[in-house]
């Protein structure tokens, strides 16, 4: 998997700078150095996170499109709701804090879930600790989006731990 990340980084660099740079040795050398640097950084971070990057299995990539569709729909709905709150003649917010269990097995999955919640306007993750998120929500409807656990299940499904 670590080599997979290396290959991914090299592919990203090549696609962004264009294959012609292979012939320009200085630019190419910069590319090699930056890919090596980022890969080294990834290895260090992976070790610090306990090396549970097995989240990235081939099957996870296959499940990614379905997750992205669910993600886009939820973010769009939350955006419309928050827009309604912003443009209402009178600002009416009912902010609240909630503890939400993050049932993902890998720390990557939990972070993905926390970021999912933060990206949906109306809810934001204040803290992640002991498999629990501290979520701040603008009102009851935003809160319900998280509390019904559908986002949690989306990330679980992507992680592939539920089946």
């Amino acid at each position: 998997m670590r080599l997979g990340v290396l290959a991914l980084l090299a592919a990203v660099w090549l696609s962004l700078s264009g294959p012609y740079t292979v012939h320009e040795w200085l630019i190419f050398a910069f590319g090699v150095v930056s890919v090596a640097f980022v890969w080294r950084l990834y290895l260090a971070l992976d070790r610090a996170a306990g090396g549970d990057s097995e989240f990235f299995r081939a099957s996870s990539w296959l499940r990614l499109p379905r997750f992205l569709v669910a993600f886009a729909l939820k973010v769009a709905a939350a955006n419309l709701h928050t827009t309604k709150l912003i443009l209402a003649p009178k600002i009416e917010l009912h902010p609240r804090l909630r503890r939400v269990p993050a049932s993902q097995k890998t720390s990557f999955g939990q972070v993905l879930y926390a970021n999912f919640i933060t990206l949906t306007p109306g809810t934001i993750t204040l803290d992640l600790r002991d498999d629990e998120l501290l979520v701040y929500a603008l009102d009851a409807e935003s809160e319900a989006d998280v509390m019904d656990g559908s986002m949690d299940r989306d990330v679980l499904r992507l992680e592939g731990g539920s089946d």
Partner: protein, 119 residues
């Protein structure tokens, strides 16, 4: 064909622009730091997302579109990280949350404070 794509692009760009304006209005109308981060995330997700997708229709299947996809991907990873860092820092340093629902889970355990070095 090209005309239809141009219309799709135009609609998405204008919609994205509107969400950016809405985010700005929210930033102004909401009264408190934590609420304002929610308004800012409208700009981050709907605003930037719709604009980038709109531009992708101009790029077609090309290197340009791949780069736009990467921009969107990096944005979707970095903006929640930034938002989280902001609110966690504010929370950890004791900026009070205005809560309507008094059920405050912080009573037991003071999350966000213990173990975090100030700074």
């Amino acid at each position: 064909m090209t005309g239809a794509l141009d219309i799709v692009t135009a609609v998405l760009l204008v919609a994205g622009g509107l969400f950016c304006v809405v985010g700005g209005i929210g930033l102004h109308r909401f009264s408190e730091f934590y609420q304002r981060t929610h308004a800012a995330s409208v700009t981050d997700t709907a605003g930037a997302g719709l604009m980038l997708v709109g531009l992708m229709f101009q790029g077609g299947i090309s290197m340009v579109t791949l780069k736009l996809v990467l921009v969107l991907a990096f944005l979707l990873f970095s903006s929640p990280a930034i938002a989280h860092a902001l609110v966690k820092a504010a929370h950890g340093h004791g900026l009070a949350l205005e809560l309507e629902i008094p059920d405050n889970p912080e009573k037991n355990g003071e999350p966000g404070r213990d173990g975090d070095a100030a700074g």
